[in-house]
């Protein structure tokens, strides 16, 4: 006899990059800022981890992964404790496991405890300082250390090997004030808070500047001050210098958002021109391509969110077929928002895509390849509209028009050169992008004869609905760890809502770069999340870019 069985549900995950567009952004920024990662935020870890590997080899010397991981977690934990305890001026951003340590210290403060149990805290189980087996090293830093030539990862070997640069960094950290005390603390099952605080005053993440040799070596490595000709080192150097330049040129200092804006428009948030130095022109162009792809990404995701917002109520009404939704898109476009009436008075939902592009190009100005936020229509103004939440069962005309405007604007700019990614990546890389500006340019020939109402339907169907199904299916089919990331299902021609998701732009490592530049004493915190140049930063910039003018 055969017994029935329940179908086991495939575990769902929110997933990332629901439309498979952001992977291209990652490729673009990874080429511009190679070596570091978004979560490798503190420069001192680049000396600390080599030192951990070196001391492990020297003091333990057993090639056992578990043993090494325990050692590593203890060392990380103690460094974070010391960093958190050392004083109020300490910036604990990016310290591994800082949230757990902060909670722990609050609890200890309430209990007036004098010691911290290192053994328990550093153990792997949940609710301890860090859930990952290899701590922050394993999930944040190890790949970055390998990229920078500090360690060598050999398949099958439990512990990474130090390259000559890594040995040098480890030796430098070992000479730092407090390093010997830290090494001694590694064996203790419990440590007095007082001792940890003392340790922090000399070895915390922010005390890098107190050890000039280490500081200099890290600056040399990250900023490539010795001008290693390897492309990745040069690219990283140029992007770091561009961030420093932005700190100098932007009023009040640099922030990540204004950096992105500044490289794209060559204007600050107020619309004032930014004169980027000629020597960094190619890097500015590369970042502009990245930002252009981000603008491409934006309307697609908001169109997707709009669809997901609408689906639940459409399902209740049994009006959730794609044909139903397509009709609603077309209807929504009948209502023209203010910016369309003002800037493109003759454009309606019945205007052909080609005519739309012609009229839109006129509003973008003569040098259409140079974005200008001061024009009546720009990526900035359209992006602002897209970010205004417009939810409900009907697709919002404002979102649809802004999306069409954004995609049209990008197509107009991209077709000037015909090779939208040429300034950032070689064709061999851009050809691998699943969906990008190349596709938009190519599809303009398909869209050309369609009305805007039909073009919007086509774009949502091809770039959003089908694209998501393809991407989610691929994640379900081919990823090693199968991921069920469907945000809606198709059943009997009906789109069935599954779940919505938060959309955010990609983070292009610039935030990490800023934090590292702070650690290196080249930037300092200013108001409103900005960062301004320090004297040392100005000096370095002057030496590196004599041509920079304010």
């Amino acid at each position: 006899m055969a017994d029935p069985v329940w179908l086991q549900k495939e575990p769902e995950s929110v997933g990332r990059d629901q439309l498979g567009v952001q992977a291209a952004s990652q490729t673009l920024y990874a080429r511009l800022l190679p070596g570091i990662r978004n979560l490798t935020k503190r420069a001192r870890y680049y000396t600390f981890y080599p030192w951990v590997i070196e001391t492990y080899a020297r003091r333990v010397g057993i090639k056992n992964e578990q043993r090494f991981n325990q050692y590593l977690r203890r060392a990380e934990y103690i460094l974070t404790l010391a960093t958190a305890l050392q004083g109020e001026d300490e910036d604990t951003t990016g310290a591994i496991g800082i949230r757990y340590v902060t909670r722990l210290l609050d609890d200890i403060g309430r209990r007036d405890a004098t010691q911290i149990d290192i053994e328990t805290g550093a153990n792997k189980p949940k609710d301890n300082y860090f859930i990952a087996t290899r701590g922050g090293y394993g999930i944040y830093y190890v790949a970055s250390l390998a990229d920078l030539g500090i360690i060598e990862i050999r398949p099958g070997e439990p512990i990474e090997r130090l390259r000559p640069l890594g040995q040098k960094l480890a030796a430098t950290f070992a000479q730092a004030p407090g390093a010997a005390a830290l090494e001694a603390a590694l064996d203790a099952p419990r440590l007095p808070i007082k001792e940890l605080r003392t340790l922090g005053t000399s070895i915390s993440l922010s005390r890098l500047s107190a050890h000039p040799e280490e500081h200099e070596l890290l600056a040399e490595m990250l900023l490539n001050t010795t001008q290693d000709p390897a492309e990745e080192h040069q690219a990283r150097r140029r992007s770091f210098l561009l961030v420093l330049t932005a700190a100098k040129l932007l009023r009040g200092g640099v922030s990540v958002e204004e950096f992105r804006h500044g490289v794209y428009f060559e204007q600050d948030f107020g619309g004032g021109t930014i004169a980027w130095p000629k020597s960094l022109r190619s890097t500015v162009n590369g970042w502009r391509v990245y930002q252009q792809h981000e603008y491409f990404n934006q309307p697609l995701h908001y169109l997707f969110r709009q669809l997901l917002d609408a689906l639940p109520s459409l399902e209740v009404k049994n009006q959730n077929s794609w044909a139903d939704y397509a009709t609603r898109i077309q209807d929504a476009l009948r209502e023209r928002p203010e910016w369309v009436r003002d800037a493109l008075p003759e454009v309606t939902a019945n205007t052909r895509w080609t005519q739309f592009l012609t009229m839109l190009a006129a509003t973008l100005g003569e040098n259409v390849e140079l974005p200008n936020r001061n024009r009546p229509v720009s990526e900035q103004s359209l992006g602002d509209i897209l970010q205004q939440p417009a939810t409900g069962e009907e697709p919002a005309g404002s979102t649809l028009w802004a999306a069409l405007g954004m995609l049209g604007t990008l197509a107009i700019r991209a077709r000037v050169s015909g090779r939208p990614y040429a300034n950032a990546v070689p064709p061999s890389a851009s050809q691998r992008f699943g969906l990008g500006l190349d596709h938009l340019l190519r599809d303009c020939s398909t869209l050309g004869g369609l009305t805007l109402a039909d073009a919007a339907v086509w774009l949502v169907e091809q770039y959003v609905v089908r694209r998501h199904l393809q991407v989610a299916l691929r994640k379900l089919s081919f990823q090693r760890q199968r991921q069920n990331t469907f945000k809606f299902f198709v059943e009997n021609g009906r789109l069935r809502f599954r779940r919505n998701f938060p959309f955010g732009a990609t983070t292009p490592r610039v935030g990490s770069a800023i934090l590292m530049l702070i650690d290196l004493g080249l930037l300092e915190k200013a108001e409103a999340g900005r960062h301004r140049l320090t004297v040392a930063g100005q000096k370095l910039l002057q030496q590196s870019l004599a041509a920079v003018t304010v």
Binding site: W6, E231, E491
Partner: protein, 893 residues
């Protein structure tokens, strides 16, 4: 049970899937792909007619491979074709999954669904009768409407290949397949007749959908009036009409499924359909596709839904509750007041009855120059001169109308092979009328994709390296499948009724007016199939090579998308196809050389391959008790580097097998893996479109241990590939030939030509490469290739004599040797002979012999630049310059 895992684990030959709802994206992207990757190229879908029409709507999200890569038949039941099953078949075994899962993403991954999984094998035949009943049920469903001939032929062929399916075995004592159409009475009547006089005390119903007036539930409650009827629902998502609840018999109570842990509130839709019945001594479970509706359970003959359910019986009254993990929870539940719940019930809109359409297309097939549309009864008074077949950009007037079938002539080039959706149009009652869309099976495309797809998918699967890091049994199964599809010796005559094809001698046997049709059953999977290249294999080996390789290449290169469909097919054009199929010329049959591709071994391949690995594994594990046992995966791990190097590895041997002194070595038991290796190499050869096996390295582990036997094998395979590639005149290929050959020459310096030839003959026979390289032609090819090889061996000696890579780097730096140009021939002791494919910048180059997509390139300075030295650039000495010039001349540069 996880259906996605199940689909990845099975190795059927045929799949027949029944579903009501259908998500073409999911099916084509996951189910079709994974089953094909495992060798199941024959897939047939039976889908509710209206649902299928809905998915084919142009404004929907229509399928892209239907009709070209798989068959689909819309089933017209009176109400709905509602069964959900997955029938996977091979010659000797079967799997049947039956339940509530539609062929959609939620049906396979997300909903709360209930399934039953039945197996059949010759030594486990308990459920054989249920498979046979299911097969008959499928035939009944196909008879509900005029089905496509290609579908019917496909089913006939499945029956031929799986004869066990056609018999009528004794049914099991405790399981019954209840189905409509085909069963006696409705599902409920069938249920009652099985129960006989068993006094049912308790009925537990779980379902999402109910009649608007709850009439089926009422009838069930009345039928079991002495029983406690408990209805478990997801209150807000079921379609119970709250207004009708008070009118239900008193023995009915509702409960919330969430209270028994099912149908997570707000998250997971409970789509399972199940009725549990308990008497004092027994329990029964009816599960499958039937909801609690009259259409599903009580409809009279020729009315209602098509449904398929399994009824099981057990002697423990609590058995099924326990199995479903609701045991013990039910009695403690508090009933819910369904009359007060806002359910998903919505009154059906009043739709006025529609006039029957003038034409009722149910299926179609595109066969050469003709499209046949199969139709249900048509209305009287049709203006036949207005009837047209509308395709994407074409409309075709009807050419002929015969009973149940319309025929349309297809002008050459007017219909894209990839487009398989059509509609009928005509003038009707003074208006333009248009039918719902239907699938047009493209027989030529199906022929290529169902048969050649086996080869292509295998190769694609191998090329991606998927199997290399995982389950070798998948590869073995694929290989066996592929080989079993190849001819068993000379072609058999085709049935007399089948249209004839043009003989290979060039005679024309058919008038051009009627398209020559290859009977579908012949190319499906049967032993009668003759691939186009087989007849050509009777020509000289070399002249066949290109056709053979192009066949493989075409099968491999075609992605599963429409844009690359058969129009780009260079080999299987109509003429060549016809040439291979002529059954009426006995001379052709006699003249056919014996060209089996390891046919005698094909069926045994998988068994033997896995058997070898298994034996070896057992032996090692016996010696290795203290350590983690080796898995099959450990045993046969193939690592491909740069697509041209093939390593055969195994885990480190136990200590007692290792030499006590000296360097640790790991031994490969050659006798046990030789055959497997040969098979692997065969696959490898095919997967590389006949590309050169550049290096064959057989490495037990990090340190190679080579016996003379292995050495011979390496040499002969290497030489074979080299000789085969001699047919190409491109300097790139000649370079590769030579690059391989010098290696072979190096190894074979102490070998006798006769011995090599002897082994080459064996390799050719074992690898089944006769269509490419006849053993008799080997020696000539070998000698031809040897000329190149000697030149390269001499050059290798001279270059190596100067020094290793470091010495060449030093020389290049000292002499200021510039960056090579694209196309320059290079040498390096590790890489061997190669050439520059592309300059990557930063003194880096990519190599023509490097097919690793992830490769970051090589530093140019580490290579000796033969082209530059031959051109007169810096060179260590005159003899090296001469050697360089000889190499350049030998490869025609």
């Amino acid at each position: 049970m996880r259906l996605l895992d199940f689909l990845r684990s099975v190795r059927p030959t045929h799949a027949v899937i029944g579903t009501y709802a259908f998500d073409p994206g999911f099916y084509e992207g996951y189910v079709l792909r994974h089953l094909r990757a495992q060798g199941c190229a024959s897939q047939l879908l039976l889908i509710d007619h209206d649902c299928l029409a809905g998915t084919l709507e142009e404004c929907g999200l229509p399928p892209t491979l239907m009709g070209t890569h798989y068959l689909a038949q819309g089933i017209r039941a009176s109400r709905a074709f509602h069964p959900k099953f997955l029938l996977l078949l091979s010659r000797e075994s079967g799997e049947l999954i039956l339940g509530s899962s539609n062929l959609t993403v939620p049906g396979y991954t997300h909903n709360d669904e209930l399934l039953v999984h039945l197996h059949y094998q010759p030594d486990d035949a308990a459920h054989l009768a249920l498979f046979q009943q299911c097969w008959r049920y499928i035939q009944s469903c196909l008879a509900l409407q005029p089905s496509s001939e290609v579908v019917l032929n496909h089913c006939r062929q499945i029956g031929v290949e799986c004869p066990w399916l056609l018999a009528e075995s004794a049914p099991p004592e405790d399981s019954w397949l209840l189905g409509r159409p085909g069963g006696e009475g409705g599902i409920a009547n069938q249920l009652v007749s099985v129960l006989g006089g068993d006094a049912i005390r308790r009925v537990t119903i779980m379902a999402p959908y109910f009649d608007p007036d709850l009439s089926a539930l009422t009838r069930l409650a009345k039928a079991f009036s002495d029983a406690d009827v408990r209805v478990l629902v997801q209150p807000t998502r079921c379609t119970v009409n709250p207004k009708r609840v008070p009118a239900l018999p008193q023995n009915v109570r509702f409960f919330d499924l969430a209270d028994v842990g099912r149908g997570e509130p707000g998250a997971r839709f409970f789509h399972a359909k199940c009725i549990l019945l308990e008497s004092r001594t027994r329990s029964y479970c009816l599960m499958g596709s039937a909801n609690i509706s009259v259409a599903a359970l009580y409809a009279p003959h020729h009315q209602g839904n098509a449904e398929l359910c399994l009824l099981s019986r057990h002697d423990d009254p609590k058995h099924f509750q326990s199995v479903l993990d609701i045991n013990g929870k039910l009695d403690k539940l508090t009933p819910i007041n369904m009359a007060a719940v806002k359910t998903a019930y919505s009154p059906a809109a009043d739709i006025p009855p529609l006039d029957p359409p003038p034409l009722q297309p149910t299926a179609a097939e595109h066969d050469g120059k003709q499209i046949r549309v199969f139709c249900g009864p048509h209305a009287a008074g049709i203006a036949w001169d207005t009837v047209q077949l509308r395709l994407l950009k074409t409309t075709l007037p009807v050419r002929q109308s015969i009973a149940g079938e319309l025929r349309f002539s297809v002008p050459e080039g007017s219909v894209s092979d990839g487009f398989t959706i059509g509609r009928l149009t005509c003038r009707w009652k003074g208006k333009d009328w248009c039918s719902t869309p239907f699938v047009i099976h493209n027989i030529a495309a199906l022929q290529r994709n169902v048969q050649a797809g086996r080869l292509g998918k295998l190769a694609g699967y191998m090329r991606r390296g998927t199997f290399l890091s995982g389950d070798l049994s998948a590869m073995a199964s694929l290989m066996a499948e592929m080989l079993s599809g190849f001819p068993q010796g000379a072609p058999k005559p085709v049935q007399p009724a089948a249209p004839t094809a043009k003989p290979s001698s060039g005679q024309s046997s058919q008038p051009a007016a009627e398209p020559v049709r290859v009977p579908y059953e012949e190319f499906l999977t049967g032993s009668e199939h003759q691939p186009a290249w087989v007849s050509k294999a009777s020509y000289s080996a070399h002249s066949d090579l290109d056709a053979y390789l192009r066949l493989i290449a075409s099968a491999i290169a075609r992605p599963t998308g429409n844009e690359n469909e058969p129009s780009a097919e260079p080999v299987l054009d109509e003429q060549e196809e016809d040439e291979s199929e002529d059954p009426q010329d006995p001379g052709t049959e006699e003249e056919q050389p014996a060209t089996p591709v390891r046919a005698s071994e094909a069926a045994q391949f998988q068994k033997r391959f896995l058997g070898l690995l298994e034996r070896y594994r057992e032996e090692l594990n016996q010696r290795n008790r203290l350590k983690e046992p080796l898995s099959l995966r450990d045993m046969g791990k193939l690592i491909v580097i740069g697509q041209t190097t093939l390593f055969f590895c195994c885990k480190e041997l136990p200590a007692d097998l290792q030499p006590k002194k000296g360097k640790k070595r790991h031994f490969l038991e050659w006798d046990q893996v030789r055959e497997s290796l040969q098979d692997i190499l065969h696959c490898w050869f095919l997967s590389n479109r006949g590309r050169l096996i550049d290096r064959v390295m057989i490495e037990p582990s990090e340190h190679a241990y080579r016996t003379a036997e292995i050495e011979y094998f390496v040499v002969t395979v290497g030489l074979l590939a080299a000789a085969v590639r001699r047919v190409s005149d491109t300097s790139f290929d000649r370079l590769l030939v030579a690059a391989t050959h010098w290696r072979s020459c190096v190894h074979s310096a102490q070998l006798q030509e006769g011995e090599v030839t002897l082994r080459a003959r064996r390799v050719i026979e074992n690898l089944g490469l006769m269509p490419i390289m006849h053993p008799d032609a080997w020696q000539v090819a070998f000698r031809g290739a040897a000329g190149l090889g000697r030149t390269f061996a001499a050059a290798q000696k001279a270059l190596r004599g100067f020094g290793d890579g470091a010495a060449w780097l030093k020389f290049n730096k000292a002499q200021g040797v510039g960056i090579p140009q694209a196309g320059d021939v290079l040498w390096n002791p590790r890489i061997g002979f190669t050439s520059v494919a592309e300059l990557l910048g930063g003194n880096k180059i990519s190599l023509s012999t490097d097919w690793n997509d992830e490769s970051k390139g090589y530093i140019a300075g580490n290579f000796a630049n033969l082209s530059a030295m031959a051109r007169g650039g810096p060179c260590p000495n005159a003899s090296i310059r001469q050697a360089c010039q000889a190499v350049l001349a030998a490869i025609g540069r």
